[in-house]
């Protein structure tokens, strides 16, 4: 059937690019660090080099990819759910909620983000998730539903400001968490080890499966809410679950690598500019491209001023902001 092969070749090409880029970036991620560039092949006989590669660089590389993938997925869900191509998982109060959750958990569990203790990591993630979910729910309640985009975004900004203020209050009251919180706000993968990777993998797989199973609801929503209901969908049920998935994905990413800007916004945008597809495919590619974007930015952050390193959040903010500016400019030109 001709229609089934609409963009087959474009999707195929994108798949090859995604696979090759991911492999190259993983190899680069294992080779680049504060100690300089190390060839991954032939394997070094120096055990300290091997240890750096396997215990620091590989989990960090994987964590950057996983966090980016979670944010890419959350971005695609947010944009579909709120029918707004500018919806960012962070704009709806989830990031500030997760930040507050992290601040609270650092105080309550008297731990740091460097912890490799399982329970503590799980604790931070759980509280960050509850914070993210609470942030989104408060935003949606304040906006009295999902229908009015401007009200929703405004509510998201208000909730963000208030929750950020409460986080700052906690940090001031407990100065011992200030340095960690600052690193967290700038976004960094340097905290992430194998336990963070495992945690984010489990959350990513679960979120992908649930979101994927509800992708038809996101497709139907592109026709408008009433049309989606007229197609017999249990819209409120699907929305409720998708908001939980959105909060979980954002909460998991934010709790492990801090506030990383723009990946969640840019990844689905980039996919849509390359291929026009239904959400079943869009969700997968947004996830994969989100991973590539953050991993690429993380490697740059490690290499640019080595042996020092930049917080990756700064880099994604600069790169993502430039991408948005370019998008705006391109949009204006098209409108002309």
């Amino acid at each position: 059937m001709v229609q089934q092969h609409f963009q087959h070749s474009q999707i195929q090409r994108l798949t090859y690019v995604v696979i090759i880029l991911t492999l190259v970036l993983f190899l680069l991620g294992m080779s680049v660090g504060s100690t300089g560039f190390t060839m991954i092949w032939p394997p070094s006989s120096d055990s300290s080099v091997l240890q750096i590669m396997w215990d620091i660089r590989l989990p960090r590389t994987l964590a950057a990819w996983l966090a980016g993938a979670l944010l890419g997925l959350a971005g695609a869900i947010a944009q579909g759910l709120f029918r707004n191509p500018l919806a960012d998982p962070y704009l709806l109060g989830s990031a500030s909620g997760a930040t507050l959750g992290v601040a609270l958990s650092l105080v309550m569990l008297s731990t740091t983000l460097f912890t490799e203790n399982w329970l503590q990591r799980l604790g931070i993630t759980s509280i960050a998730f509850i914070g993210a979910l609470a942030g989104v729910v408060i935003t949606v309640i304040l906006a009295r539903g999902f229908q009015h985009t401007f009200r929703l975004l405004l509510a998201g900004v208000i909730v963000g400001v208030i929750l950020a203020a409460i986080s700052s209050f906690f940090a001031i009251m407990h100065p011992e968490i200030l340095p960690v919180m600052q690193a967290f706000m700038l976004g960094t993968t340097s905290f992430a080890g194998w336990s963070a990777c495992l945690l984010m993998s489990v959350v990513l797989i679960a979120c992908c499966l649930v979101a994927w199973s509800l992708s038809k609801a996101l497709d139907a929503l592109t026709l408008g809410e009433l049309t989606a209901i007229s197609l017999g969908l249990r819209l409120n049920f699907a929305r409720g679950i998708l908001i939980v998935v959105l909060a979980l994905a954002t909460g998991a990413a934010v709790s492990q690598v801090g506030l990383i800007a723009f990946v969640g916004l840019a990844a689905p945008h980039l996919v849509r500019s390359l291929i026009k597809v239904v959400h079943r495919t869009l969700l997968i590619y947004s996830t994969l491209i989100g991973g590539i974007l953050l991993l690429g930015a993380d490697i740059l952050a490690r290499a640019l001023i080595a042996p020092q390193e930049l917080p990756v959040g700064l880099l994604t903010a600069i790169l993502g902001g430039s991408y948005l500016l370019w998008l705006m400019h391109a949009g204006q030109n098209r409108a002309k």
Binding site: M1, V2, Q3, Q4, F6, Q7, R83, P85, S213, K216, D219, A220, L221, T222, L223, G224, L226, T227, I229, S230, L231, G232, L233, R234, R272, K276, V277, V278
Partner: protein, 264 residues
């Protein structure tokens, strides 16, 4: 005179939206396999009536489809029976036309299942009926207003529902496509589909077989479009500012000026 079997019945239907009663006490019987047009002045409640029949607004079990209330039918089964095309529904433009029309098949698809052969046939048939088969591979954001409207009509047709509710289906269409659409509606009713359309253009509305006139949320009249009494009622509903004239076996509505401005 109502020799046809009613497929939709509303019993003293009253609809309240945001604390305002929009429809008052509407009792209707809409005949099966027939084209019924709904007309009335702006803000009369035409679109609201269509939404209530579509099950998109609360109906307090005052609407019966094939003798069943909304609660008696599963949403997915109901969605197979009734297709609704809204007016000015904003659509996201990141889909291909074919994928968008395929969304009309959602009521027929099981959770997470792929499109079946029947789904593909239905979509291709709907695209052919609306003369949009050539647009299948185009992204929706590249379409003109008229093309987009035809694609949305195709989406509604792809449901293959026995009841088709169309809110201003002719908007954005040029005259040849308006004529095609009227022909298409007649073909659909001839094959057993019940079509209810809200139309602001009275001449087009008079092409239907049955007519419902609503004013200020109240049912003014229901009758066949070719009856003189219907024409009198239409003229009255629009405060004698239009007149219905016969023309080549059809009826046309023209603006009517109480004082001819040319004579001034």
């Amino acid at each position: 005179m109502m020799p046809l079997t009613p497929i939709i019945i509303t019993n003293q239907l009253t609809t309240v939206l945001a604390n305002v009663e929009v429809l008052h006490d509407i009792s209707l019987q809409i005949p099966q396999a027939c084209w019924t047009s709904v007309i009335g002045p702006n803000g009369a409640g035409k679109s609201t009536l269509l939404k209530v029949i579509a099950g998109l607004l609360p109906d307090h079990n005052q609407v019966l489809i094939n003798g069943q209330t909304k609660n008696e039918i599963k949403p997915q089964i109901r969605a197979r029976k009734i297709a609704w095309l809204g007016q000015n529904e904003t659509i996201s433009d990141d889909l291909l036309v074919y994928d968008l029309v395929m969304l009309g098949r959602l009521p027929h698809q099981a959770w997470m299942s792929n499109a079946s052969q029947a789904d593909h046939h239905a979509v291709q048939h709907a695209l052919a009926l609306t003369n949009t088969a050539g647009l299948g591979e185009r992204p929706v954001n590249e379409l003109s207003g008229g093309e987009c409207q035809r694609v949305l009509i195709a989406r509604a047709l792809a449901v293959e529902a026995e009841i088709l509710l169309l809110d201003e289906p002719l908007s954005n269409l040029d005259p040849p496509h308006q004529a095609d659409m009227i022909k298409l509606i007649r073909t659909l009713t001839a094959s057993g589909t019940t079509v209810i359309s809200v139309l602001h253009d009275i001449t087009f509305a008079l092409q239907a077989e049955q007519m419902i006139i609503i004013k200020n949320g109240t049912l003014i009249y229901q009758g066949a479009t070719n009856e003189v009494q219907t024409h009198t009622q239409i003229e009255a509903a629009f405060e004698q500012r239009i007149k219905i004239y016969p023309l080549e076996g059809a009826w046309v509505s023209l603006p009517h000026y109480p004082i001819n401005p040319l004579e001034k």
